[in-house]
């Protein structure tokens, strides 16, 4: 089997088999369950339009997915370096590029697991309307590169900073900043600063695409501008992760 796939499988195992990873999945399930319950049982929230419900749910899934990707992204290099399990991996005859590819593959698998995991919740709140499939499609097309991008950013920050703890803290602050449009709502985004930030923020680009496709029934193709922002950021974050990994290798690989 290809070395990158082996490493990616191992990374996925960290989520699916380790007590820590399983605890995170349970936490995600609890968060999604509470949100779903609120959407269907709360007097005011239950009055929301079906499209709005799917939009809110897609945003939450993206945020939780990015959070999970950040946690596991930091752990993939910095966590392993801190625990001492990275040097043995670097001392195998596997090319460094393949190791990095495996680590990035792990983030993709984690998001895939999270995505499949979230589908029943999305269905539970959105199956009565006609926006469910649009929601799933837009989440897959626009949400996936955002989540994977933040995973790469966290992986790079962890490799670049002294410890996994500082890597995690910095990544979470950046994620919180990027997710601010979701947290503070549309009013903040209408300001000059908010609009300027929106144009370069991949998270905002994804939320705007969700808004246009799910609520305004725009076509996915018409969202190419948002897709461009997301893909450019993804490319930058992957390059950052690559450079940070090379820096880690040049500085002794955690030995």
């Amino acid at each position: 089997m290809n070395s990158s796939i082996l490493i990616a499988r191992k990374e996925a195992g960290t989520l699916l088999r380790s007590p820590r990873g399983l605890a995170w999945l349970v936490a995600m399930a609890v968060a999604l369950s509470i949100f779903c319950l609120l959407l269907v049982s709360d007097t005011e929230l239950s009055l929301l339009d079906n499209a709005q419900v799917v939009y809110d749910m897609a945003g939450l899934i993206t945020a939780l997915g990015a959070l999970l990707a950040v946690i596991l992204g930091v752990d993939a290099l910095a966590g392993e370096r801190d625990r001492g399990s990275l040097p043995p991996l670097l001392l195998t005859p596997v090319a460094p590029e393949s190791i990095l590819l495996g680590k990035l593959g792990g983030i993709v698998i984690v998001w895939a697991v999270m995505f499949v995991f979230a589908l029943p919740y999305l269905w539970a709140v959105g199956s009565t309307g006609q926006n469910l499939m649009d929601g799933v499609a837009v989440l897959a097309l626009f949400g996936s590169p955002v989540v994977i991008g933040f995973g790469c950013l966290a992986l790079g920050l962890g490799a670049r900073l002294d410890s996994s703890r500082s890597g995690l803290l910095t990544s979470l602050v950046l994620l919180l900043l990027a997710a601010s449009p979701l947290i503070f709502g549309p009013s903040l985004r209408q300001t000059t600063v908010g609009m300027a930030f929106d144009t370069i923020n991949p998270f905002a680009a994804a939320i705007n695409a969700y808004d246009a496709v799910i609520i305004d029934s725009a076509t996915v193709l018409s969202q190419w501008g948002h897709a461009l922002v997301i893909l450019v950021c993804l490319a930058l974050f992957v390059l950052f992760a690559r450079n940070a990994f090379q820096h880690l290798l040049r500085s002794g690989g955690g030995l």
Binding site: L86, P87, T92, P93, L249, G252
Partner: protein, 303 residues
């Protein structure tokens, strides 16, 4: 020559860390790399493994440069770092299987079990690594290091966490591996390990090799003879009856401090003394030898 390091200089963050390290390890030999904390042992190992780029000097491993042929070298290399971690949710066979595959090998479960047996590890079925004791982890790390059937084994503090029986078993295993032609670079603070295993040593101080060579030659040259305290159980004969290669350094009430000429086995000296009528009751080793050499070379430095 398995490893050859000549005048290695290396900077980290602009600060010179290695300032002239020399080392030579042949196949079928165990080389002890010694030195106080911060002397540059781990940095030297990182340079040998190709993880750090030298500022000047040369490093050759298996006849290749670790800077340009790291992957080829890693294929024939086993490493046990001082600080090693695992994927705690895996079982030991799963862990070895993963690394075997990363080395491009597919091992049947019987072969994996045999590898674990070689290092004296027999975990329960489905027992995850997270539940292993430190000694078990040490053995698993060694099993991983031996996976590629390496020509060169680099061990950093390999007996840490092992009980006396485990240490002896490891010594026996290392001797057997060396007997098969493997070369071992042993980085340790335990002079007893070095004394028992190493044919050559190098002592590092502040990033420099201060002494390097065959243990017997170094002890001879430094006059680092082994000292013993002998307790008597009766009347002592005339001092002229003392064997020639035993020198008396101090005489206390009921015990003497003696030194044996290098190259003379201590057991032979005691036998001669007993034949000459010396009432030897107890013999205790008191420093000297490798310990004395190490302390002399690293005098005044924290260990």
């Amino acid at each position: 020559m398995l490893v050859s390091v000549n005048e290695l200089h290396l900077h980290r963050g602009g600060t010179p860390v290695l300032r002239g390290v020399n080392l030579a390890l042949d196949a079928g030999d165990i080389y002890g790399l010694l030195g106080p904390n911060g002397a540059g042992k781990s940095t030297t190992i990182a340079a040998i493994l190709g993880l750090l780029r030298p500022h000047s000097g040369t490093v050759q491993v298996l006849g290749r440069s670790p800077q340009t042929d790291a992957r080829t070298i890693h294929r024939a290399l086993g490493v046990l770092p001082e600080r090693f971690g695992f994927y705690d949710w895996m079982t030991a066979p799963e862990y070895l299987d993963l690394f075997a595959r990363l080395y491009g090998r597919h091992l049947a479960s019987v072969e994996i079990a045999r590898k674990l047996e070689t290092v004296g590890l027999s975990p329960k079925p489905r027992q995850t690594i997270g539940t292993f004791s430190r000694g078990m982890r040490q053995r698993l790390a060694l099993a991983r290091a031996l996976l590629p059937d390496p020509k060169l084994l680099i061990l950093d503090e390999p007996t840490n966490g092992l009980d006396p029986r485990g240490r002896r078993e490891l010594h026996d295993l290392l001797r057997a591996l060396v007997g098969q032609g493997m070369g071992i670079l042993l980085c340790t603070h335990l002079l007893d390990d070095v004394d028992r295993l190493c044919g050559r040593i190098g002592i590092l101080m502040e990033g420099r090799t201060v002494i390097e060579g065959a243990v017997s030659d170094l002890l001879d040259n430094q006059g680092s003879r082994v000292r013993y305290r002998i307790k008597w159980s009766g009347e002592l004969p005339s001092a002229t009856m003392m064997p020639q290669h035993v020198s008396v350094l101090a005489r206390d009430h009921g015990s003497w401090l003696v030194e044996i000429e290098s190259g003379v086995p201590a057991a032979d000296a005691w036998r001669e003394m007993l034949f000459a009528g010396w009432p030897v009751a107890e013999v205790m080793r008191e420093g000297g030898g490798l310990e004395s050499l190490y302390l002399t070379m690293t005098e005044g430095r924290p260990t």
